[in-house]
């Protein structure tokens, strides 16, 4: 990010030979990618020295592995209440069921392992939607300025003051209970803060001399945005994305807990919903409540720690002085 801008035009012009460019041609794209790769390596090196970021990354990789390998760790049949592998309902932890059983006799360990899939999927997909909307609005507003900017920022401010949870609840209860709806609802309600951050960064990048120079050389708006502004705003969007995943996972949990989740899929939120709904709190079935809860806390914590660490590296204002 801090490398002095090397303009694509600085590359030697390709030799005009009839048989086309030679294979070791040094094109502007290759220079740009090499530069990006070097800066990525530099960020990775700084990141490795950040204990908080590394701890978050380790926790995260563990849960991603659990989610991906779920069918190998615990048979999916364990989710079916009619499976012969189920035990006595409301059973405390034992050798056979390390985390005990739920009201249908299913292993809480199996539920928690499979819940990782849905919770992470919803968190990532919702974040993707939120990032695309937020970045698009932020960049367009910041780059175009004038009336499109006021219009888009007004819209952003509106969505910022509408209380997120009530809006998500209203949307989810109007549209019905399904995984896709939950993803869409979280995605379309959580983009405004991203849009503001991206716009602010776009405004500052837009004024830098090399952008002015590119414009003077006759670069089109599309070229400026995709080649100069986006690569510079990208890192910030990425750090913000990581933090948004944490919020999206928490939102999924909350919506599912309120009975707005997909009744057919098992997420950490729906496990907690059925536990609370079956009176696990008053009956003292702690083994049913602790595993999914701790899973949520650890994953959200891991994303938050990674996000903070990245923010500290990529956001020059926060660097240790």
């Amino acid at each position: 990010m801090k490398t002095p801008p090397i303009e694509p035009t600085a590359a030697p012009p390709p030799p005009a030979t009839a048989e086309g460019p030679p294979p070791d041609r040094v094109g502007p794209r290759r220079i740009a990618w090499a530069r990006r790769w070097r800066s990525l390596v530099r960020v990775a090196r700084t990141y490795r020295r950040n204990p908080m970021g590394m701890a978050g990354l380790v926790i995260l990789l563990f849960f991603i592995a659990v989610a991906v390998l779920a069918p190998l760790i615990a048979s999916g049949e364990g989710l079916d209440p009619t499976c012969p592998c189920t035990g006595v309902p409301f059973q405390p932890p034992s050798r056979e069921f390390p985390f005990g059983t739920d009201n249908l006799g299913r292993s809480v360990l199996t539920l928690t392992i499979w819940g990782a899939r849905i919770s992470l999927l919803v968190g990532l997909m919702a974040t993707l939607i939120s990032m695309v909307i937020g970045s698009l609005i932020g960049i367009v507003a910041g780059y175009l300025g004038r009336w499109p900017e006021s219009l888009l920022m007004r819209l952003t401010d509106w969505f910022l003051v509408i209380p997120f949870l009530p809006l998500a609840i209203v949307l989810a209860s109007l549209l019905g209970r399904s995984l896709l709806i939950i993803i869409l609802v979280i995605g379309v309600t959580s983009w405004p803060s991203t849009a503001r951050i991206v716009r602010a960064q776009t405004l500052s990048v837009k004024e830098r001399p090399y952008v002015e120079r590119a414009r003077a050389l006759g670069a089109s708006g599309w070229h400026l945005v995709t080649r100069h502004i986006l690569p510079n705003v990208g890192p910030l969007i990425f750090a913000n994305t990581i933090l948004t995943v944490a919020i999206a996972i928490l939102s999924e949990t909350t919506l599912s807990f309120l009975g707005l989740g997909d009744p057919l899929s098992t997420s950490w939120g729906t496990i907690l919903e059925s536990a609370f709904g079956s009176g696990a709190a008053t009956a003292g079935n702690w083994w049913w409540l602790l595993p999914p809860g701790f899973a949520i806390v650890l994953v959200v914590l891991a994303f938050t720690m990674c996000g903070f660490a990245l923010d500290e590296i990529l956001n020059p204002r926060l660097r240790q002085r």
Partner: protein, 327 residues
């Protein structure tokens, strides 16, 4: 200053207008027939009564006409009748739930802000110390946990009584039903019911304040005027409380005021877990009953509260920070 003030007020009114319009389309354009929902499960469910209800609700008229009626009604604060409390207006249903929410969420927001700020100040001041690392871990943990999960655990431990924990508090509600308590004993009863949800909300909210206060203080500590103060020989305690904290407080103060705006709608899951008869629990009940007029009313109230808090934060910011006024 006057121009700034008028601009901010106009902006808030415009936002409110947007919410009102948004509210109309949100509940009308979405799938689902309110009339069918209203009659659902009642003996009178047949095509004729369905048509009658549609006429009563004004759903048979074209959308623009409905919009005009809706605007007029909303401006007169006539939010219609609730489905689930049959025959009672949304206003009455909401009004009787306002006080418990204000009491619980209001007090715990203030408590968490104060505790969070103090933790953040001491952590940021001694960055890297044992207290800082410990409190940062703790605040990140409480910031990451779903508050209702923590609520359920606390409920299980201190109201249900698991293992070594004594069941010393009531399992939920606002007061002991039908106890007929008055005066002081009534208040003791309410406070006894409030202890657990208050504790849960305070712990769940303080993480955010502590983290923001810590970051903001660390940011300020690197500024030149702090170095100047130290060079002048100002004592460390004075540097912290007279120079650093007042300047670092601005962002956290904004957060506090904004959260006061979320007081009305902010504790939905906790009120549900502790059966606290406030607006949050009412929202859950309205979802369960598919009570759209009530949800619409609640949504309007929640949004209006946030808009008002935003306005107050903007105005206070201008009062405290002259640069905002000038810019």
């Amino acid at each position: 200053m006057r121009g700034y003030l008028i601009g901010k007020v106009a902006q808030a009114l415009l936002t409110l207008a947007f919410v009102v319009v948004f509210n109309f389309f949100l509940f009308r354009v979405m799938p689902g027939d309110p009339a069918a929902l209203l009659l659902r499960g009642s003996a009178a469910f047949n095509p004729d009564t369905l048509e009658q209800v549609r006429v009563d609700l004004g759903l048979d008229r074209p959308l623009p006409a409905q919009f005009v009626t809706y605007l007029g009604d909303t401006l007169r604060l006539n939010l219609g009748d609730s489905f689930f409390a049959r025959g009672r207006s949304v206003n009455t249903v909401i009004a009787e739930r306002v006080w418990p929410t204000l009491l619980l969420v209001g007090t715990s927001t203030i408590a968490s802000a104060i505790i969070g700020l103090v933790i953040g100040i001491y952590g940021g001041w001694r960055r890297g110390s044992a207290f800082d690392v410990g409190s940062l871990g703790f605040t990140l943990f409480v910031y990451s946990m779903p508050e209702f999960w923590f609520g359920i655990l606390v409920l299980m431990a201190f109201a249900g009584g698991v293992g070594p924990f004594p069941a010393i508090f009531p399992t939920g509600g606002y007061e002991t039903p039908a106890a007929g308590l008055t005066g002081l004993s009534h208040w003791v009863d309410v406070l006894n019911h409030m202890v657990l949800p208050f504790f849960v909300l305070t712990v769940a909210y303080l993480g955010e304040y502590a983290i923001i206060m810590r970051n903001s203080l660390i940011d300020i500590m690197g500024d030149d005027f702090i170095t100047t103060a130290r060079a002048k020989g100002v004592r460390e305690q004075q540097v912290l409380w007279r120079h650093a904290v007042p300047n670092a407080l601005l962002p956290t103060m904004t957060l506090t005021i904004l959260s006061l705006g979320f007081v009305f709608g902010g504790a939905i899951t906790i009120e549900y877990v502790f059966s606290w008869p406030g607006l949050g629990w009412l929202t859950v009940q309205a979802i369960d009953a598919k009570d759209f007029p009530l949800l619409q009313g609640l949504f309007l109230l929640f949004s209006a509260a946030v808009i008002l808090a935003n306005l107050v934060a903007d105005l206070l910011y201008a009062y405290l920070d002259p640069r905002v006024r000038a810019g």
